[in-house]
Symmetry: C2
Subunit: 194 residues, 2 copies
DNA sequence: CCTACCGATCGGTAGG
DNA sequence: CCTACCGATCGGTAGG
């Protein structure tokens, strides 16, 4: 581990990481800009040198999370796996983004959405929809293979909901690794293999 | 509709209903006790005549929601329906508590849990566990009938997660009535009928 | 339940 | 990025 010299760019990155962690743990309204400044060793006014406002920091956390999640999702959805395996791979990647060590960005997106102003919602929405579109691809292929017992929209929202809710209860000790959880999700949602 | 004379008891009830609505819409930390007082036509200090603190009001909202949900859940779980029908009835009741007109209490429980102090969490937990226990009964009967392709705990948490997440996307116009959604949930989670 | 109020805190800014 | 600060707001209370 070499320590980088502090630059504007990596100070900004530190603020994003720390803000994500605190927003997740205490909520957007429950976290003060002073909490964030303290956690990175800045004075209370200094975060506003890097971000226009507290809301801007929140939106940036969400964008960062989506930007980090998209490549894996696109690779899986656009790849050549069979529908069943594609579904499980997508579930595993999704769980990783939501439960993985230091992955606080997507939970913030999920739970603090209403704290964004309408304009900032618009700013984040485009990338959010690009992510949802990957799930739609996977669900459409399942449907085409006769593996979906209900309509694609309802199925997708239920699956994603079940995965997202895992942040509320998952403990790696009790529930096993993420890959094992993904297998259970697949067993639960898809009809048994013939 | 007859208008009741204002008593301490029904003023308290008004505060609970209004607080539930505002906590759900704007979050606990995003709602001020002044917002709540305004919405029921009181002065800013008056809610504290009915509740010791803002946190006490939050915990009371949650308890109220659980107290209202428990009878239906216990009737279904303890009833004589076949496992498949019992599951669907439970899902419908759960969706009703989460999506129904004026039912803001349970969503507050789901999304503002972390805002409670440890002592207040303890106060609410007992009733919360009583509700979860009804789901456990239903899942155990499904399992005994060979209708669960994975372990009961994981299945229960996924199902409840999928149902709870519906508050984020459900629109009665686009998604149909709750009873129809419950049927889809049942089709998605349970193996096809022979 | 209202009046009148307090102490603390908060997001944000000017100037360097 | 720090210093020094402001205007606004917030949960809560004493006294009636």
């Amino acid at each position: 581990m070499t320590r980088l010299p502090p630059t504007d760019a990596n100070r900004r990155g530190e603020l994003l990481r720390v803000a994500a962690r605190l927003f997740r743990a205490k909520g957007y309204d429950g976290t003060t800009t002073r909490d964030i400044a303290d956690a990175v060793g800045m004075r209370s006014g200094s975060p506003f040198y890097h971000f226009k406002s507290k809301q801007d920091l929140l939106a940036s956390v969400m964008e960062e999370g989506l930007l980090a999640s998209l490549p894996a999702a696109e690779a899986i959805a656009g790849g050549r796996l069979a529908p069943r395996e594609k579904f499980e791979a997508m579930a595993r990647a999704h769980l990783e983004m939501v439960l993985g060590e230091g992955h606080d960005f997507i939970p913030v997106l999920l739970y603090e959405w209403r704290c964004l102003s309408p304009e900032l919602k618009e700013r984040v929405r485009a990338q959010k929809e690009r992510y949802d579109a990957q799930w739609q691809i996977v669900m459409a292929e399942l449907d085409a293979a006769g593996l979906l017992p209900t309509d694609q929209r309802a199925a997708r929202l239920m699956v994603v909901g079940a995965l997202n809710y895992s942040v509320q209860w998952y403990q790696s000790a009790a529930d096993g690794p993420v890959s094992q959880l993904a297998r259970k999700v697949s067993a639960l949602f898809l009809p048994p293999e013939p």
